[in-house]
């Protein structure tokens, strides 16, 4: 099991000493980062027991025995090979296929009737693969035969697919392939923040990341359109300039030496806002200089000419004459730049008019009087001195070359550290040398050392090695391989922290083998204890529960007075904090449904009508919900609001939401061609209209399930407030599921879910988090891992940490397998 990291590990070891100087401050500084203890191995005996148990999970007969749940892969999976054909499938086959393929002399010689078990189907997988293709493509049944509607077709196809491709978890691990994936917007922003200690918000202007499977970190879905490439480049330029201060970026500091502050001696007045030397005279200005500096005294002046020589002006620093200047112009101001070295301390700049001339007799009136008019004097100091390098700059340019000859070595050192940190692994061959070329090109072309380093940093920031999570491909023959320690570190980091690995994690990856379970567990434990892991729950929860639309939904302001974006944001915050609490205290994931507490600020407490109100809107407090109508996720405003229409609640949407996100049984889409009720307008209350809708049997098969779930929440309006009446009519929050359970209101629904649908819920949460952790959709084979994790959860009081450990220790997370092209 020993895995040595690629590259020169010795040199990386030294290099990794370095980053600590500019890294990992986040962890120490992070606000509110009270470490949490995550209990480990709560029950080792149970673990052992689990491992020795039969690994395959026999799908328990669904309590609700709802046929369509087969549409979801969990049900098709785990069929015993000795199992029979799902009754509903048998029904479809018998109704729609046996006419031609179910008697003595069947069409095409294919008699489907004699297949009575999954084993029989699997034994003739070639035939059934063909059946599957025909059904999927729609070429079977043929036109003249009984029609298969879309729903039946999908149902049948899924079931056959599941029956054919069921796999045996005892044989081998099926880690699956991970498509190379780029960092999404949040991961990019967090990585930049942690690597550069820079909060780079412009990432918010990156185009939105498309989602798949409910999450926006899916490698197959994340694309890189040209507009994003442009933004990466733009961001790289801006970031490099914010982090590294180059003299080219600094605007020279200009100080105007105000005319009325000059001390005048001799024939000078300032009546017109200028220093007007009408006769020989001196003007002096005293400045205090903090540090020695190269500077320019910039004088804008004009000479009123007379006599036979031009106006002469001298400039002094203290006693030293810097020069005498001739002003030849008569009409236009000219600028005289006097360069000087300005020492530290108090100094006086003096301007004198040297050659006054006056001849009353001159025939030309304009030629009688010679004067000097100084309109303005500005002190221009080179910007770099005077400006202290920022902390960020010092952290980042931690080797400062003292002379030109030292620059290349410094650049080399800096780049070695940067690349290993940005690319999350030891440097590859030539990597630094190639970057050094960019530095050298810029430097020899006349850019400053700092500017040249900016360019090299830009190349790192837009390199695919930074923008993508790069993994070495798995063997071509399809054998799974373990991730290297560094690849695993990166996967862990983006899963648990939504950001780049910190120095400790990279050190661990370098010195130890992260594939070693003890090492892995210890590291995960450490990572969960840091506040960065809040990203996991918050980012995961918001996407899992589909709360992002909270930012854009617009409840009707007439019906729902005072509902604004801050309130909707509060709702989202409530759910985030609630999920975080369960993670931090390592509570049971079932608490997500059952908890009798939540988090509110004052505004939200008032919105909910809670008596326990925090003092203001900035503070969210944990409050008890005992004795209220609320509890768990289901009654949180966030969820109630996103599942509503702008003007009213939608029991259908709420029911669908529960099926999809809590039970992992998404209902199939409505049949587009079956909408007979559209011909007549529905009448009555919402419930009555929906009941009319359900009379159509093809609608009923899903609505009978969705609607009662949604109706149980009818006591909560479209913005999550408690109500007993809707438009003057008493709310009827009762529901009955096809399987017979009767309930009224959210609390009873909650109990039904906890008592009868616990396994489905736990499996659903596990699957959703697997998708998020892996950055891909799940396949049949992943059910082996899902089964193992749910088993571990059950044996460990459903503790949240067990879910995390289960995922990171599973083959899909730790191994890769080449995707065999179909």
């Amino acid at each position: 099991m020993s895995r040595s990291p690629t590259g020169d590990s010795e040199s990386l070891a030294t290099i990794l000493q370095e980053p600590v100087r500019f890294q990992d401050i986040i962890d120490e500084k992070s606000p509110g980062g009270s470490p949490v203890t995550v209990p480990l191995f709560r029950n080792p005996q149970a673990m052992l027991l689990l491992l020795t148990r039969a690994i395959r999970r026999i799908n328990p007969t669904a309590i609700w025995s709802i046929a369509y749940s087969i549409v979801f892969l969990s049900s098709a999976f785990g069929q015993e090979t000795s199992g029979g054909i799902e009754p509903r499938v048998a029904q479809i086959l018998s109704d729609k296929c046996f006419n031609c393929h179910g008697h003595e002399e069947p069409e095409a010689g294919l008699d489907l009737k004699h297949f009575t078990s999954i084993k029989a189907i699997r034994d003739e997988s070639q035939i059934w693969n063909k059946v599957l293709r025909r059904v999927t493509k729609g070429s079977m049944p043929p036109e003249e035969a009984p029609e298969l509607n879309d729903y039946e077709r999908a149902f049948l196809a899924k079931w056959i697919d599941g029956a054919l491709h069921d796999i045996n978890c005892t044989d081998a691990a099926f880690p699956g392939h991970m498509t190379i994936r780029r960092l999404n917007r949040l991961e990019y922003q967090n990585s930049v923040r942690d690597l550069l200690l820079l909060d780079y918000t412009p990432a918010a202007s990156f185009p939105g990341d498309d989602s798949g499977y409910g999450f926006d970190n899916i490698g197959d879905v994340l694309s890189l359109p040209p507009v994003l490439m442009e933004k990466y480049l733009d961001a790289a330029e801006k970031i490099s300039r914010q982090v590294i201060q180059a003299p080219e970026d600094l605007v020279p500091a200009e100080t105007l030496l105000e005319i009325n502050q000059w001390k005048l001696k001799g024939g000078i007045n300032t009546n017109s806002g200028s220093l007007t030397f009408y006769s020989q005279g001196k003007a002096a200005f005293t400045i205090t200089n903090d540090s020695a500096d190269d500077a320019i005294v910039r004088i804008k002046a004009v000479g009123e000419q007379a006599g036979d020589e031009p106006v002469k002006m001298s400039v002094f620093l203290d006693k030293r004459k810097l020069g005498q200047y001739k002003l030849k112009n008569h009409e236009q101001y000219e600028t005289v730049d006097v360069k000087l070295r300005l020492p530290k301390g108090s100094h006086t700049i003096r301007i004198t008019f040297d050659n006054d001339f006056y001849n009353e007799q001159a025939p030309d009136k304009k030629n009688r009087d010679r004067n000097l008019i100084v309109q303005s004097v500005t002190l221009v100091r080179s910007a770099i001195s005077g400006v202290q390098p920022s902390e960020m700059h010092k952290n980042f340019i931690f080797v400062v070359p003292k002379k030109r000859a030292e620059e290349e070595a410094a650049a080399n050192k800096l780049l070695s550290v940067w690349t290993s940190r940005f690319f999350r692994r030891p440097n590859g061959d030539n990597e630094v040398d190639r970057l050094l070329k960019i530095f050298t090109e810029a430097r020899t072309g006349g850019d400053s050392f700092e500017r040249s380093m900016q360019y090299a940093l830009q190349a790192i920031l837009i390199s695919p090695k930074f923008l993508y999570k790069v993994e070495r491909p798995a063997p071509a023959d399809g054998t799974p391989r373990d991730l290297t320690s560094f690849e695993l570190a990166t996967s862990l980091s983006y899963f648990l922290w939504c950001t780049t690995p910190d120095a400790d994690l990279l050190q661990t990856a370098l010195k130890k083998d992260l594939q070693d379970e003890a090492v892995l567990r210890a590291e995960v434990k450490r990572m969960l204890s840091l506040s960065k892991s809040d990203q996991l729950v918050e980012n995961f929860a918001v996407q899992w529960l589909q709360l992002r639309p909270l930012a854009t939904i617009q409840p009707d302001p007439v019906r729902f007075v005072g509902v604004d974006q801050p309130l909707l944001s509060d709702m989202r915050r409530e759910t985030e904090l609630f999920c975080r609490e369960i993670m931090r205290r390592d509570q049971s994931v079932l608490q997500l449904l059952s908890a009798d507490f939540t988090f509110v600020n004052r505004r939200l407490a008032e919105h909910y009508g809670l008596s326990n109100k925090p003092k203001d809107n900035e503070t969210f407090l944990r409050v008890s919900l005992v004795g209220t109508e609320r509890g768990g996720l289901l009654t949180q405003g966030s969820i109630l609001a996103v599942t509503s229409n702008p003007t009213r609640t939608s029991p259908v949407k709420r029911g669908k939401w529960i099926l999809e996100n809590l039970l992992g049984e998404p209902p199939p889409p409505p049949l587009p061609d079956v909408m007979p009720l559209e011909q007549q307008e529905l009448t009555g209350s919402l419930r009555e209209k929906m009941e009319q809708h359900r009379r159509d049997p093809s609608c009923a098969q899903c609505h009978d399930l969705m609607d009662p779930l949604g109706f149980a929440l009818e006591n909560f309006d479209a913005i999550g407030r408690w109500r007993t009446k809707d438009s003057g009519i008493d709310v009827n929050a009762s529901g009955k599921l096809p399987s017979g359970e009767v309930f009224t209101g959210a609390a009873e629904l909650r109990n039904v879910l906890l008592e009868k649908k616990k396994d489905e819920f736990v499996r659903c949460v596990t699957e959703k988090m697997m998708i998020y952790a892996l950055g891909r959709g799940l396949r049949y084979e992943d059910q082996c891992a899902v089964n193992e994790i749910t088993r571990r959860l059950e044996a460990n009081d459903y503790r949240f940490s067990e879910l995390i450990f289960g995922i990171v220790e599973s083959p899909p997370f730790r191994k890769r397998q080449l995707k065999l092209e179909k």
């Binding site: 197959d220 879905v221 040209p226 837009i462 790069v470 617009q554 889409p669 049949l671 559209e678 307008e681």
Partner: protein
């Protein structure tokens, strides 16, 4: 809101004043450089280029208020068309076109996702939540690939809603299908810009005209070195990967190439110094939808006017958008309404939303027509498709689509008519006709059966 109003107007004033490049001399040389025919302008210069844009509205249209009762030139404007009726002589109403790829074809629900994914590709997108996204190349991107090298931006994609607002998009279809009209390859959608300020920057950034030419050149050279460097990074990774992963890195390499081309074409804007100098950069995304749309449409006009690109797409909203239009007192969500169940009130509300969009289209046409170019207007030299891949939102049907073709395509289209095509005529036939007018001699596109008859 007021601030945005002002900034927009300021900018538009800038537009009117600064842009008087009737035949865009800058372009004439470029055309020669790319071996394109030099077409004499009536005024003695060069014929202005032909542009094309596709403006997409979501959730279908209330068709009884859309389709004119009679065909031909003397048709009477329907209530929705009246909203841009001032330009009756500048557009054609095309009825009877069909988008077959948006139909279920055995894939069940998801008409909204399909209607966007298929709208410009004519393909039938593969139903997937992500693992194996597959659509077709869209008509705008095909054109961009063929003639995009003539302008600084090959194409410009705009819209009011970014992707990823919701995890689940439409009945088992990845959000990529719902939010992207433009597809560069069957697997690579082209994301759109939603921020008018960012769109402005895309049009005019990277051309720091305050720098001395020599300095600018040197800076571009280093930038090019950086791009070469990372392209080499990508190629070295590319070699080790499987086909699917390689496609991902192809997107990266394509992005790099686009930027390199833009840098090398940056000098083309220098002729337009006076143009950019006077333009005010929009201040970001306005809260008001109407204002947001107008600003983005301004950017589109600006892009065409400065010949920064000749190809653009614009989404009034993503497919299945459920936004409510409070600015016209519609509190219900658009998608929710579109399933009107034949409720007269709901249909009226849908019609109002349709008219609202139509008024914004009117704004766009006004702008396009106000810009003189050669002996005509910018609108004359363009082909603007306005419409939807669903006709009735309740039935989700994809035939007899609501489609407008505005502009004369540089004089090759006779406008002012309601053209009724046989039902099931592929929408993609229109695209073949348009591509040909862009100088791209494709005979076939998507499921087309030929060029669209009778639009000359």
């Amino acid at each position: 809101m007021i601030r945005n109003n002002i900034s927009r107007r300021t900018m538009l004033r800038g537009l009117g004043a600064a842009i008087a490049l009737p035949c865009l001399e800058a372009m004439s040389t470029n055309r020669l450089a790319y071996g394109m025919p030099r077409v004499p302008c009536v005024s003695g210069n060069v014929a202005p280029p032909v542009r094309m844009a596709f403006l997409y509205v979501p959730n279908g249209i209330h068709m009884p208020d859309w389709t004119p009762k009679t065909a031909g030139a003397d048709y009477e404007l329907s209530p929705i068309l009246k909203e841009f009726g001032n330009f009756k002589s500048d557009f054609n109403v095309l009825s009877g076109l069909t988008l077959n790829g948006a139909r279920a074809l055995g894939d069940g629900g998801g008409d909204h996702a399909r209607s966007v994914a298929a709208f410009l590709t004519g393909s039938h997108p593969r139903k997937t939540d992500g693992a194996d996204i597959l659509n077709g190349v869209s008509v705008d991107q095909l054109a961009a690939e063929k003639i995009g090298h003539a302008t600084r931006l090959a194409s410009l994609e705009l819209g009011t809603e970014s992707s990823s607002q919701s995890g689940q998009c439409d009945s088992g279809y990845s959000c990529a299908y719902v939010s992207n009209l433009s597809w560069r390859t069957p697997t690579s959608p082209v994301a759109k810009e939603v921020d008018p300020a960012m769109a402005f920057d895309r049009l005019f950034s990277g051309t720091d005209l305050s720098l001395a030419p020599a300095e600018r050149e040197r800076r571009n050279r280093i930038r090019k070195s950086i791009l070469d460097h990372v392209a080499e990074d990508a190629r070295s990774l590319h070699r080790a990967l499987g086909a699917n992963d390689q496609r991902k890195l192809d997107e990266y390499l394509h992005g790099i190439r686009e930027i390199e081309q833009r840098i090398s074409r940056a000098d083309k804007l220098s002729h337009g110094d006076s143009v950019t100098k006077d333009l005010a950069r929009p201040e970001g995304v306005p809260r008001e939808y109407t204002e947001h749309v107008k600003l983005l449409l301004d950017m589109l006009v600006l892009a065409f006017q400065t010949d920064s690109t000749r190809i653009s797409t614009f989404m009034f909203a993503n497919a299945g958008s459920n936004r409510s239009y409070r600015e016209i007192d519609i509190a219900e969500g658009h998608h929710e309404l579109s399933h009107h169940g034949n409720s007269a009130k709901k249909q009226e509300h849908i019609s109002q939303i349709n008219r609202h969009h139509a008024r914004l289209f009117n704004y766009f046409l006004e702008k396009m027509k106000s810009i003189r170019e050669g002996d005509g207007t910018l609108l004359d030299n363009s082909m603007i498709v306005y419409g939807c891949g669903i006709s009735d939102g309740n039935q989700h049907n994809h035939d007899d689509l609501p489609i407008i073709l505005a502009g004369r395509g540089g004089g090759s289209i006779t406008t002012g008519r309601h053209l009724k095509f046989d039902n099931e005529t592929p929408l993609t036939n229109l695209y073949v006709s348009m591509l040909n007018r862009m100088g791209i001699p494709e005979k076939q596109f998507g499921d087309s059966t030929g060029a669209l008859a009778n639009i000359e």
